[in-house]
Amino acid sequence: MPSTNAVSFNTSRVRSYVFRLPLFTRAVIIAIVAFWVIGVQSLWDVRTWGALIPDEIGITTLYRLNTFPFIHLNAFHAIMNILALTPLMERFEAEHGTLTSLALFFGPLTTIPSFIYLFVEKFVLRSNTSVMGASMWVFLLLGMEAIRTYKVNPYLVVATHNIPTWTTPIALLLCVAALVPSSSFLGHLSGLVVGYICGLGYLKFLAPPEKILRWVESKVNIFGRLPYYVNMDQKTYGRFGVLPSSGGSPIGGPTTAKGVVGTGALRLRRDPRILKLPPYLSLLCILVGVVWLFLLPLDDYSRRTYISENALLPGQVHTYFGGSDQNVFRAYKHEVNALVGKSNIECWLTGLCWSRINDKLESIVKGLGLKAGRQNFTYSAAGLVYSGENVYAILQAPRGDATEAIVLVAAWENVKQELNRNGVALALTLARYFKRWSLWSKDIVFLVTPDSIAGPQAWVDAYHDAHDSSRVDSLPLKSGALQGAIAIDYSQESRFESVHIVYDGVNGQLPNLDLINSVVSIAGGQMGMGVALQEMWHHNDQYPDRLRTMLRGMLKQGLGLASGPHSSFIPYHVDAVTLQPFGDGWQDEMAMGRVIEGTFRSLNNLLEHLHQSFFFYLLMQRERFVSIGTYLPSAMLVAINFTIMAIALWVKSGQPESTPAKAADGAEAAGETVTKLNTSTPAVERELFLPLGVVTICQFLAVIPLYLFNHAPENMLTPAFVIFAVFNAVLPHALSSVLTNYYAPSAQQYQLIKSFSLLLLGMFLASLATLNFSLALLVGLLASPLTFMRPWPQSPVLRAACTVLLNTVSPTAILVASAAYWRLDVGAILREVAFAWHVCGMNSPVVVWCVWWPAWLAGSISVLGKSEETKKKTSTVATVKTKAL
């Protein structure tokens, strides 16, 4: 009974229901509202006037027996009672007529419970609790309804227990008593008792005889003109029938009376047109994703950078580096030149002379009064051995407790294998200069490494005890937690114009934006030099330049290679950048030193690790960026396009229309389809085993290229790549012919293969987008044709076209194309990748070979697929369907 209204919510039905409420019910509701409105004013206390107060009842105050149901404590009370009362009263009235309702509710049905209440309250309990509100009526009517329900449907079966249905109002009574504050249990109970008695028919004699009512109706013509009046002829109309309050059985077939909304959604789900939509939706996602990306450089979408961390105060201190330090610098430069000259070229390459060079450096820094340490490392990748020795010195903070440290890195060679003479000399000069100041609150570590990638990596690994001690020595000397690192890459011999900030870390990780902002503010604002990003030597702050900067940044982050000595620090959550002077200007080494001094002073101010600003951003100019919230949707949209298609294919594969009778076990399948089709549930059993197997095999095959390219020796890389490229072109055909010849997959299975592989791809890319946005977007875009691939069993031309298209966007083809575009050797690229994989822990190969390549393979297989029964015309489908229907 209460569940009948709970079928589904629909405003239009509610509206029509409210408009069709019969007269007496309306009157009661209006009276309740009116009394509540009256109760709002404070001149006349309607509540004490009308409530049922046992002690107040006398012969003159009997009106209280009739007024109390209309009066409520507050608006909430009134609303709840109206909500509960309306459907019940409406039913009662529809069944018994307006006049009867009027007579009964102004007579016995109100007075009898009130008398019971008064009797018990006054003479049994001997107390004086006043009651008001229509809830007594609610329980009375509920009691009547419960008895009626009990006669029709005596038991509610919960598991094996039969619960009589007439007990439900009692449960409700107890709930209300327990949960609703200041509710009158006794009042409700007396209403319920009278309701039960009435429902059992013992109070029938109280109802006015029908004859009299008819006579009244015929005499008093006015009733007929009243709107919504339920007269004696209409009164049984609507009982359990047409009135909206009594829908069908709560659980039942989709009758017409069911909510329009629910069936609408269901109908929509079954509409075959809806399944044509996903490819367009996917395409839309991709397009929106790309367009979104190109909108980012606009002023409306990017933001100006700002310093979040107040402690940094960049450019607020006077820098004193200069003057006589220039002479010191020249002296160190001389020493550095001597060291470089001393070692002949073979010695330089094999790294045998590091101990000799580091002897000298160590003696210099020890002469400055710093503690020094040395570390040997040997890495091997792609059959080559990279070894060397780091030397570093620690300047202990005069005002610190060695719990925090900042690092200044100068590599002997930058990433382009140019000698960094000025950088090393400047680092030594700064060491001597910093030693003289007493304001450092953090230790300063000066690190000189033989190269820009392996050396810093070995040092940082060992600093955090995360090194493989068979290849990398442990550090003899350590300081506190690293708070930041600045690397100098100063290979230019002449004076410079601007500073180039290199900030990309391994795997596309970035330093906190505050660090870059500080350097920009110090170099650009305080020192008056230019600042460039992403090798954009000239930047006019217009759309094309911004876009180019952003795309270069994304490409670098997507490749995930280390871009300088700073890159190794970022995975350890140490914010780091490399500063690289460039251009032809009038700034000298001292200016560069002052930039570094200013940055170190800012970092020295830090109270805690840089955390305020962004870790995920795309810079498009030195003072413009977009944060992750703005750019993430574009990668997510691209990733979602795969998921949409996967879901669509899954749904499609479960629909009998698109999956005709299976070829393998035709009779059984047809029988199954018959039983399924005469029902309205579109649930075809899916053959999961083969598709899952194919997708799993594709994923496992990915180990081959991953292992091959990371472990082949250098001279074998190019041949291995050629062999793999050929293998890659043949593999889909081979797998496909094995599939069709031995397993004869159905169209449904091809759909499922594609669905699973796209699901995996979408899932991997969505996860990846949170870690390395650029790589996810790059791979997503390159893999986007896979969404639209499907078997073309009837059209060899289309199949060939799709195959050609897929082969041009295969990982190998893309690798060759990009090598040709940047005029690089494929072997050299693979060597770099293998080096980064082994030394820096770069993950991009995993993404390419274990995410992109398997999806590509599965896509190619599904393009080449020839399902057995799609060759049979759709007539088969038609016969099956007619048979079923």
């Binding site: 569940s3 709970a6 079928v7 919960v158 598991a159 094996t160 227990h161 709560p250 659980i251 039942g252 077939g253 989709p254 629910g262 269901l266 990780q509 995975p571 959550h573 690790h609 955390h611 870790f615 995920f616 998921t643 996967a646 879901i647 899954w650 039983t675 399924k676 005469n678 029902t679 309205s680 549930t681 649930a683 059993e685 085993f689 699901l759 995996l760 899932m763 991997f764 969505a766 996860s767 990846l768 949170t770 870690l771």
Partner: protein, 425 residues
């Protein structure tokens, strides 16, 4: 797939394959076991292998293992592991123990699947029971489930609880109620929460008892077997007392679960809630959470009286979401039992959604944990959001399975409604 007949040869091949795979992962990928043992998804404070080793060290040096508040596992695990050769010197013994536990679980699953209890219980026979999953498939899905493998390789002690629970069910369906009670007592002793499985398990035992003993009334049966379970538990506690030397193991093992004093992150929903909570509300919400966890037992047991195994399955799913320290080993136990309901899978509505949600959560969880802990660019909310999704996926599976099982029952009563679309209200 359906025709996977259980023959001794095939069973042996399956078990051998699973153990070779695990052994290979233990030995050929030397970094993997320790990596997995450190993952919060696998090692909770009450199942972590690292903590077990800490406890073992203290125990072997005659210090109470519960000193220091690191070890929260049952005391009897300590003599077991100290009987094995030392892990540092000879890890193979420990590996074999864990592999053995997994294989025993698989054997129990084979027996459960072989009994056909899922499709045809004493009081109810599903009209779809013909299409049941073969025991081999069920066991293979358990053994080659990545979650199971990860828990085994991560050496979570939840593996033993899983084994004990599956054995309890297996004994129950093969008509050995005493064995079931003993196995469940072991499970409850190891991780406490299996105690909540007692009511449905008793019913399952009662339904499946062999005819020669089947003379008792349910009350009598329940009383005797509860007494057995209580006796076994008492014996285990007494032995623990002898091993630990005092009763302090009770607050350190079960007390930690009850009061959630260790707030290490895990895949459950409790830790973040209690991290954020003001202390004054803590005890109230502890009561609420535990009440919530236990309130499913009564309702499901009564509602699905005719299919006690379904109750057990659903409860295990609910526990995997809502218990204080869940891990993927609990999920793997739930997922091990779900294939038994192969026959109602066509009635389920969200299989794809559930699979996709669980897989997404599986990949995004570690990614967000990495962002929070290692990269420092995320925060705890990232990981918690994903654990919510993970919980959502599993609870969706529980709901869907409940729906399918109920619908299956309902279609027996209302044959005219078979295949019609219905709506839940």
């Amino acid at each position: 797939m359906d025709g996977g007949k259980v023959t001794p040869g095939r069973t042996m091949a399956l078990l051998a394959g699973a153990s070779v795979l695990r052994l290979a992962m233990f030995t050929l990928l030397p970094g993997l076991p320790d990596l997995l043992a450190g993952r919060v998804e696998i090692s909770t404070p009450v199942t972590s292998f690292k903590r077990l080793q800490e406890g073992l060290f203290l125990y072997n040096h005659n210090v109470s293992p519960y000193d220091g508040g690191v070890y929260h596992q049952a005391p009897l695990l300590l003599p077991l592991f100290s009987l094995l050769p030392s892990f540092a010197a000879f890890p193979l013994a420990t590996y074999m123990l864990y592999i053995g536990a997994d294989l025993l679980s698989a054997r129990a699953l084979l027996r459960i699947a072989g009994s056909g209890e899922a499709g045809e219980s004493a009081l109810f026979a599903s009209p779809r029971r013909e299409k049941r999953a073969s025991g081999l498939v069920v066991a293979a899905l358990f053994l080659f489930n990545p979650f199971t493998i990860a828990s085994c390789v991560g050496r979570s002690t939840g593996v033993f609880t899983t084994c004990a629970i599956l054995h309890a069910i297996a004994r129950a369906v093969s008509g050995a109620p005493l064995g079931a009670m003993v196995a469940l007592s072991f499970a409850a002793y190891l991780s406490m929460y299996p105690l909540l499985l007692l009511p449905p398990l008793l019913l399952l035992c009662y339904d499946r008892q062999l005819s020669k003993h089947a003379t008792q009334s349910l009350t009598q049966f329940a009383t005797t077997h509860l007494a057995v379970a209580a006796g076994v538990l008492a014996a285990l506690f007494w032995m623990s007392f002898l091993v630990a030397g005092s009763w302090e193991f009770l607050p350190s093992t079960y007390g930690v679960q009850l009061t959630l004093s260790d707030l290490a992150p895990n895949v459950g929903l409790w830790w973040y809630f209690f991290v954020e909570m003001f202390d004054s509300f803590r005890s109230f919400f502890l009561a609420v959470f535990w009440l919530h966890l236990s309130c499913y037992v009564g309702g499901l047991t009564v509602r699905l009286r005719r299919q006690p195994l379904a109750v057990l399955t659903l409860l295990l799913g609910i526990f995997a979401v809502f218990k204080p320290y869940p891990s993927i080993s609990d999920t793997s136990l739930f997922l091990a039992l779900v294939p038994l309901y192969r026959h109602v899978v066509p009635l389920m509505r969200y299989t794809f959604v559930v699979a996709a949600v669980i897989m997404y959560a599986t990949f995004l969880g570690p990614a967000f944990y990495h962002l929070w802990i290692y990269a420092g660019s995320g925060n705890a909310n990232f990981f918690y959001a994903i654990t919510l999704v993970w919980g959502l996926g599993q609870s969706l599976l529980v709901c869907d399975l409940t729906f399918a099982v109920l619908r299956d029952e309902w279609e027996v009563e209302r044959p005219e409604m078979v295949g019609k679309e219905i709506r839940q209200i």
